[in-house]
């Protein structure tokens, strides 16, 4: 029997596969396709202190082997999420990760605290890397000092394990990772999307109303793998890896690069069953390449 279980701070996962934040809403829609209890965990759409409408439409564009999105953190606000969404998800036999966003450190603290009080959320993913909002997000995600500060403050504000979600839009991902580790992060989540743009020829202007958007999908996988591989050698906290995963081989590639678990985003849009399908295929792929468990494969691709 291939052991898919993964033990991470706050997250005893039955398997390492979870839908990525923002690509799965709060699970309701996909729960009509399959039992969410199959998932290792669910990472919820970003939550902010109060309701956010987000950016104007169009909010998505298609690119070669990828897509751009500029949703702009639309969400009903943390209170409403806890009231209407968390109980629904808590009914499933899976772990629940809340993606925490904000424009100020205080907002991050507030959101984290509020989730902490529910006892239904198992970990926080600290989103300091959303490229699609003017304030917060990206500025915390590209400055190691700010990243450390928000991590530290959120850690102080609550008892949940905190996975800091790193932005790939940086010159030096290792410095960012080390800064948040030193500030108390329990884990890393990487990568968020790369800032990109598409220009719509007929209208001769950026296609997205927000002009820029975040690039995701298979196009970015080599960048994600490189960053995880590099970071793994400099931190000792676990990594939830993501960026372009669309099959079980991709999951193994992330594990070999150093991810302890993985999230699947964009691929849900093409195939709503992608997460359970990957979970079903993972044992076979692990065996094919000589691994008896997920744990065995973690970091095994790293050579000195």
């Amino acid at each position: 029997m291939t052991n898919l279980a993964v033990n991470l701070p706050g997250l005893q996962l039955k398997n390492p596969v979870m839908p990525a934040s923002g690509c799965f809403g709060f699970g309701r829609e996909y729960s009509e396709f399959y039992d969410l209890g199959k998932l290792g965990a669910v990472i919820m759409k970003a939550a902010t202190g109060s309701e956010r409408f987000g950016n104007h439409v169009p909010r998505v564009a298609e690119t070669s082997s990828g897509m751009l999105n500029a949703i702009g953190l639309q969400n009903p606000g943390v209170e409403k999420i806890i009231e209407t969404e968390v109980p629904f998800l808590a009914d499933y036999d899976t772990k629940l990760i809340a993606n925490v966003a904000g424009s100020t450190i205080e907002e991050y603290e507030l959101v984290a605290k509020t989730f902490n009080q529910t006892n239904q959320v198992h970990a926080l993913e600290l989103n300091i890397s959303c490229p699609n909002v003017k304030e917060g997000g990206s500025q915390f995600g590209t400055d190691p000092f700010m990243a450390a500060k928000v991590t530290e403050r959120v850690k102080q504000a609550n008892n949940l394990p905190v996975y800091v979600k790193l932005s790939p839009n940086v010159s030096d991902i290792i410095t960012m990772a080390k800064a948040v580790e030193a500030a108390g992060a329990d884990g890393l989540s990487m990568i968020n999307t790369l800032a990109g743009m598409q220009i719509h020829l007929p209208s001769k202007r950026p296609l997205l109303a927000n002009k820029t958007g975040g690039l995701s999908g298979p196009a970015v996988k080599p960048i994600a793998i490189r960053m995880i591989y590099e970071v793994k050698q400099h931190v000792s906290i676990p990594i939830i890896g993501m960026g372009g995963i669309s099959n079980a081989e991709d999951v193994l590639e992330f594990l070999l690069a150093g991810a302890n678990a993985v999230a699947v985003g964009t691929a849900n849009f093409q195939n709503p069953f992608i997460c359970p399908e990957i979970i079903d295929e993972l044992p076979g792929v692990l065996n094919k390449y000589g691994f008896g468990s997920v744990q065995d494969a973690v970091g095994k691709g790293i050579v000195e």
Binding site: C23, R28, V57, R59, T63, M67, N69, N75
Partner: protein, 249 residues
């Protein structure tokens, strides 16, 4: 309820300039779809699915007809698919047009917004509603389904350049037909804006388009504001059909 289905292509026909009609076989979708719903169609080599309205349904033959215009690389590729091939589809998606027992309804379609109105018109006609249709196209080459709409009732064709039927916009011929209980419309946003303004006094339903990610309501790509206070609906899940007063175009 939407499902992930395989649909076999039964036929592919070009019915107007860059406009393809595809008949697809599928038991589940043909039995459950209602007018105004759409299919979220997977296209090889493309990250995102393409939303395409259901234009007709034949429950006996378990077939669903879609009509699409070749716009970009996805629809171009789709147009190269041949009979016998299998489409991977999510459907039926969204909420369709409310079906009421009106005496007379007006259908107003613009370009590739025409297809969902055909399925609607056919369904209403079968229930005894009188159908009046105004169909606008760019030019004579783009006109399709004229005879099919004429079979449902009085039909006005308008082309922007006057190469066929009336010249101008669908709103230009609205005055010819005032005697209806409700209108249903689908087409480009400027057309919908003009229509909802011109027919403020009437009850109407409009079908909207927006670029989509998931197509199922999970990603917040396709929202439309319902007021200036941050209220919104998701076109893929709450729509694509809305009452004319419900959303802010």
């Amino acid at each position: 309820m939407m499902k992930n289905e395989k649909m076999q292509i039964m036929s592919v026909n070009s019915v107007a300039l860059d406009t393809i009609e595809m008949v697809l076989k599928n038991s589940y979708i043909s039995q459950t779809a209602v007018p105004g719903q759409f299919l979220h169609v997977g296209v090889d080599g493309h990250t995102l699915r393409r939303p395409i309205s259901i234009a007709d349904v034949n429950k006996q033959e378990e077939s669903v007809t879609i009509l699409f215009k070749i716009i970009g690389s996805g629809t171009r590729h789709l147009s190269s698919y041949q009979a016998g091939m299998i489409l991977n589809v999510l459907g039926p998606n969204g909420n369709g047009f409310p079906i009421q027992d009106d005496a007379t309804v007006l259908l107003i379609g613009g370009g590739i917004g025409v297809p969902p109105l055909y399925n609607l018109g056919k369904t209403l006609a079968e229930r005894g509603t009188k159908i009046i249709s105004i169909l606008g196209f760019q030019t004579a080459d783009s006109v399709f389904y004229e005879q099919k709409f004429r079979n449902l009732g009085e039909t006005y064709i308008v082309t922007n350049d006057g190469t066929y039927g009336y010249e101008g916009y669908v709103t230009d011929v609205l005055e010819l037909t005032d005697d209806f209980d409700r209108y249903y419309s689908c087409g480009p946003v400027p057309m919908l804006e003009a229509i909802t303004a011109a027919l403020k006094h009437k009850q109407g339903f409009i079908s909207l388009e927006e670029r989509m990610g998931c197509g199922v309501g999970a990603c917040f790509a396709c929202v439309i504001p319902t007021d200036t206070q941050g209220g919104y609906k998701k076109i893929c899940k709450d729509g694509p059909v809305f009452s004319a007063q419900e959303v802010m175009l």
